[in-house]
């Protein structure tokens, strides 16, 4: 078949056959190679991060992928088509003008209106100097209480939207917190300070578009109430009492008070882990 192979004679059959065969093998090889090359390309041009988030988002259960406007009651039912990226969502402005069917009763949790909330239970607080502060919201605080350990990024390190901003450990459970906004770390706090990171965002926070992808006002309540329902279901009836006291008060430090719950799932749901 090749030079120097004894006892082989070419026939037309060989030519047709081998052409087909090598065509097939070549196509397969090219497919794999191009897939690899594209992968490398994605990493070069920072699209990789975005791709990962999109892949994760696609695998989130539908309940986690509701559109903010549904949470606010502006539309009846809508699944977010572009991975919570309201910044360039053509429908955003169209729905934003609709009146919110507000359920703004107090949930016993402190969600101040000057903060912007991410679905992975972090808040962003824009400062005057154009930087932003990031922290865990009350809901997450009540679940975790005081973490056993916190692993924060170093000053000057870049963090990306929806990617892991910092990690925590509690009762042997790994918790990875998604970043609500992209930027450079300029200061690190911790559980005691009630904030975790100070960032210099990539974009100007005074531009309203910069924080548009985060929840505000009525959306927050719609979202939270759903989260609380979920939590109640997950912790189960017997533990309901300590979880949500009368009026639906969320008890602090749940991970220690309700040890028998399936915390893997709870945490995964809470922090949008796939």
């Amino acid at each position: 078949m090749f030079p120097g192979v004894d006892g082989f004679h070419w026939t037309a059959g060989h030519i047709i056959f081998l052409c087909l065969f090598f065509a097939v093998v070549l196509t397969i090889a090219l497919t794999v190679i191009s897939a690899m090359r594209r992968t490398i390309g994605d990493f070069r041009s920072h699209r990789a991060i975005d791709l990962c988030w999109h892949a994760d988002f696609a695998d989130l259960p539908a309940t986690d992928r509701r559109c903010r406007h549904e949470l606010a009651g502006r539309v009846i039912s809508r699944i977010c088509p572009n991975a919570f990226d309201c910044r360039n969502c053509d429908k955003y402005s169209e729905f934003a003008v609709l009146p919110a069917k507000g359920m703004t009763h107090d949930l016993g949790l402190n969600y101040s209106s000057d903060r912007f909330y991410h679905r992975a239970h972090t808040w962003v607080k824009p400062e005057e100097d154009g930087t932003v502060t990031i922290g865990l919201d009350e809901f997450a605080d009540h679940l975790i209480g005081r973490p056993d350990s916190v692993k924060l990024p170093g000053i000057g390190s870049e963090i990306d939207l929806n990617q892991s901003a910092w990690q925590m450990k509690k009762n042997g459970k790994e918790i990875s917190v998604r970043a609500p906004i992209e930027g450079t770390v300029i200061a690190v706090g911790g559980p005691k300070e009630n904030w975790y990171l100070k960032l210099r965002p990539r974009m100007d926070v005074r531009d309203p578009k910069t924080l548009r992808h985060l929840l505000r006002g009525p959306e927050v309540y719609g979202w939270l109430s759903r989260e609380l329902e979920r939590l109640q279901l997950q912790l189960g009836a017997p533990d309901a009492a300590p979880t949500l006291a009368d009026g639906g008060m969320l008890m602090p430090n749940l991970m220690d008070t309700v040890p028998r719950a399936d915390w893997n799932t709870v945490l995964a749901d809470t922090f949008l882990e796939v």
């Binding site: 090749f2 030079p3 120097g4 192979v5 004894d6």
Partner: protein, 556 residues
């Protein structure tokens, strides 16, 4: 210029790509493939120069001529010698695997005394002691050889007795010996001139006599249906190979060969189908018919068929006087195409009996079939190349295997002419072996050695000035100008063939009809030779084909 790592990388990649378009990687791959095709650890044939030599097979009394291919001094292939007048290049199936017998697992490798390894000197001492204490019986399976002369003369000198275990073919001729006074070893069948052969269970096509003689004859003159010149009528109790190929198969009851022969004789005489007048068989035709399980009419018909194409010859598978008597009735004895006398020699031998009373020792030559089991309390010295097992003998003495010693080849039983040949040794012995003759010479050095006897036999042949030598070319003995020349020619495995004796000098009268004897069952290739084992290939092929069941020999 400065070479960066990148340059090196690019250069390497380019080189690799370029290499693909040279034959180098492909050739390498192909060599690898060729290498993986060869397994060095499987057995390989011997190396060494390949030669073709001539000799004779001594594994049975027929002594067929062999063309032996040797490599590195070992026989690696057997074929027939087409120039040989007796075998005409034909052999029995076993001969083609005979060269593997010397490595048979059952080969006797050392002297064994009651199963325990011993030495030749001990055996010699034990035998000498036995001789001094009492009579010895020496049993030979193939008389007429130089070795036989040694054995016989030893027996003579040490008041022993020399007995012969005869082949079935010879036993079938024994009745004629008693009626004509001519040794059965000087009688033969004139098959070539017979037109009808009636075989009573004799395996004529399956291990009877020299394969090259009758099988060839049959193939040329009888095979097929085209007006057979030679009619083979097989009277046998089963559809043997011979029966299935015969012109006519008469299916009779087991053991009724004698009755059949007698019945036929009676029918021939009563219906006046034969001119010869002889004593009338006692058995009636109806009795013969009922015994043999065929109808009277069929028997009469058979009698007529038999004499339809004379000359007719009846052949028994073994010693059977009534079948011999049928030949007398048919007038086949001493007649053209009948039982003939092939030589003047009148060497009569005492047949060996299993019972051997008052003998101190029994020495059994390796030419005696393993099945011969002496029933005696004498000390038994058995020379044999292969241990067939299941037999009691005090001394088991390793004899020469296939082509491992020089020997001479006397007449084949049943041959119509006298023959003589010398079988050179072609295979080097792998361990210390001795023939019975050598052993006896070492016990009594005054005896002549085999070589001497052969030498004197050659001189005798030379002085008789009769016969012809068939070698590369055919030469009359008269043409040789010295006995040495003749011997030299014979040592090249040529065959001396005596002149056929004038017919009709064998007279035979029957006074009364002989008594009935139950014939022994017929043989085939696998049972007619001396070795107690078969070539492994034969065992294998019998097992893997439906030709016949692997014989009851020890198998590898």
């Amino acid at each position: 210029m400065k070479v960066t790592r990148r340059d090196l990388f690019v250069w390497g990649a380019g080189a690799a790509a370029g290499l693909v378009f040279t034959p180098v990687p492909w050739k390498l791959l192909d060599d690898v493939s060729i290498w993986t095709q060869n397994w060095p650890w499987i057995p390989q044939p011997p190396r060494g120069p390949v030669e073709v030599k001539q000799s004779f097979c001594s594994l049975c009394p027929q002594g067929c001529a062999l063309k032996v291919k040797t490599a590195g001094g070992w026989p690696v292939g057997i074929a027939g010698t087409s120039t040989n007048p007796l075998t005409r290049g034909a052999l029995c199936p076993l001969a083609f695997g005979a060269h593997q017998l010397n490595w048979h697992p059952q080969r006797v490798r050392t002297v064994r005394h009651n199963g325990v390894p011993s030495s030749w000197s001990d055996a010699r001492a034990a035998f000498a002691k036995a001789c001094s204490e009492g009579p010895v019986v020496i049993i030979d399976g193939q008389p007429g050889r130089a070795a036989s002369t040694v054995l016989a003369s030893f027996a003579e000198k040490h008041n022993g007795s020399y007995r012969v275990e005869m082949s079935p073919e010879t036993r079938a001729l024994m009745p004629f010996e008693s009626w004509t006074g001519v040794s059965a070893f000087s009688l033969g069948y004139d098959l070539e001139n017979a037109y009808t052969i009636v075989s009573f269970g004799a395996p004529l096509l399956d291990g009877w006599g020299v394969p090259g003689r009758f099988t060839r004859l049959w193939a040329e003159r009888a095979a097929g249906r085209s007006d057979p010149q030679l009619r083979l009528i097989q009277i046998e109790d089963s559809l043997s190979h011979t029966a299935s190929r015969a012109w006519k198969w008469v299916n009779i009851r087991p053991g009724s060969e004698s009755a059949m022969a007698a019945g036929l004789a009676r029918a021939l005489i009563e219906e006046k189908l034969v001119s010869a007048r002889g004593p009338m068989p006692v058995i009636t035709i109806s009795a013969a018919a009922s015994q043999s399980g065929i109808s009277e009419s069929a028997l009469g018909e058979l009698a007529r068929t038999i004499v339809a194409r004379p000359p007719v010859l009846a052949i028994a598978s073994n010693h059977n006087p009534e079948i011999a008597a049928l030949n007398v009735v048919l007038g086949a004895v001493g007649a053209h195409g009948g039982v003939v006398r092939r030589s003047k020699r009148t060497g009569k031998y005492i047949p060996a009996e299993a019972q051997i009373p008052n003998a101190r020792a029994v020495l059994i030559d390796s030419s005696v079939p393993w099945d011969f089991a002496p029933d005696s309390n004498a000390e038994i010295f058995r020379f044999v190349a292969w241990d067939g097992g299941l037999q009691k003998c005090d001394w088991l003495l390793p004899a020469a295997g296939f082509l491992e010693e020089l020997t001479d080849i006397p007449n084949a039983p049943t041959s119509a002419v006298e023959t003589y040949a010398i079988a050179p040794q072609l295979s080097k012995p792998q361990f210390e072996i001795q023939s019975a003759a050598q052993f006896l010479v070492s016990v009594d050095p005054t005896l002549p050695t085999v070589e001497k006897v052969i030498h004197s036999r050659c001189e005798e042949l030379f002085h008789q000035r009769a016969g012809t030598v068939y070698g590369q070319e055919v030469t009359g003995v008269a043409k040789f100008d010295s006995a040495q020349k003749l011997e030299a020619e014979l040592e090249k495995a040529s065959t001396w063939v005596g002149d056929p004796p004038p017919p009709g000098e064998l007279r035979c009268e029957l006074r009364e009809w002989p008594p009935t004897m139950i014939a022994e069952s017929s043989q085939n290739w696998a049972s007619t030779w001396n070795a107690p084992v078969l070539p492994p290939l034969a065992t294998k092929l019998y097992r893997e084909s439906s030709l016949r069941e692997a014989p009851g020999r020890r198998t590898v």
